[in-house]
């Protein structure tokens, strides 16, 4: 109970601080604030994928409904955050480099995550039979996870040699004023807690629904 209200105050403070406490950055001016939302949301999208894959692996070992449901829950949450991250990232890119989309490695990575989530959830809706659905979805989740490091870590090396400029890491380019860093880290923490809260809530709701279904 208490920690949730604490979260409310924390994030409210982050929002206010982002607007009033932290300074503006060059070139971005008022758009600087996007950093406090875009990057934490992208981080949560990645975290959600990790959690989803862990539960997928667990499912293949335990064949327990609970593991499959939690993999799906995390995927849905991850999709939501991936959409928000991609959209806010496009706005940030427009403000920073003048174009909404450039297919630079970082942009491609978050979009790729979006595609994987979409594919995963589409697959789930296309398979009949609870066990089969869980099994096939888990396998897809894992194979997708295996290919992600290639795009995030290895492929960018190809592009660094070709294109400078917009493809450098946004944070690398932006030297963060200490106040900006404080707000940024606080936002990161807040979003992470928010993710776990929504995840936990969804898991409880799923359990309740299941009990209802089993009773009737």
């Amino acid at each position: 109970m208490l920690w949730q209200l604490l979260l409310f105050v924390w994030m409210s403070l982050v929002i206010v601080a982002g607007f009033l406490y932290a300074p503006l950055a060059e070139k971005l001016y008022e758009m600087t604030r996007i950093i406090y939302f875009h990057i934490p949301m992208a981080w949560v999208a990645v975290l959600a994928f990790l959690v989803s894959t862990v539960f997928s692996i667990r499912y293949l070992m335990t064949r327990s409904w609970g593991d499959d449901v939690r993999a799906a829950i995390s995927a849905q949450l991850g999709l939501l955050f991936a959409v928000l991250a991609t959209a806010s990232g496009a706005i940030f890119a427009k403000a920073m480099w003048g174009a909404f989309w450039n297919w630079d490695p970082r942009e491609t990575s978050i979009f790729l995550l979006l595609l994987i989530y979409g594919a995963y959830l589409t697959l789930r809706s296309a398979v009949e039979g609870e066990d089969k659905r869980a099994r096939l979805a888990a396998v897809y989740n894992i194979i997708a996870f295996v290919t992600v490091p290639f795009l995030v870590f290895i492929v960018p090396r190809l592009y660094f040699s070709l294109h400078p400029g917009p493809l450098l890491n946004a944070q690398g380019r932006l030297e963060m004023h200490p106040r900006m860093l404080q707000v940024f880290l606080a936002s990161l923490a807040g979003f992470t807690v928010l993710y776990f809260w929504i995840f936990d809530l969804s898991w409880k709701v799923a359990r309740l629904k299941r009990k209802q279904e089993e009773a009737s």
């Binding site: 206010v16 008022e30 809530l201 409880k204």
Partner: protein, 54 residues
């Protein structure tokens, strides 16, 4: 660093107002999201307690 803070004070009055408006909208959205989750959390807790007792 000082030049950055100067930017804020140099902006026209209108821009600063828009700033506050955006901040307030975001705060409202956050409040909305939070209280939705909070109410849901309370309901779920109550239902789970009932389950454990009954």
């Amino acid at each position: 660093m000082n030049t950055m803070l100067q930017d804020l004070s140099r902006t026209a009055g209108q821009r600063v107002i828009a700033d506050f408006v955006v901040m307030d909208v975001i705060l409202l959205v956050w409040a909305g999201v939070f209280f939705y989750l909070f109410r849901l959390d309370r309901k779920v807790r109550a239902l789970l307690k009932k389950d454990k007792a009954g």
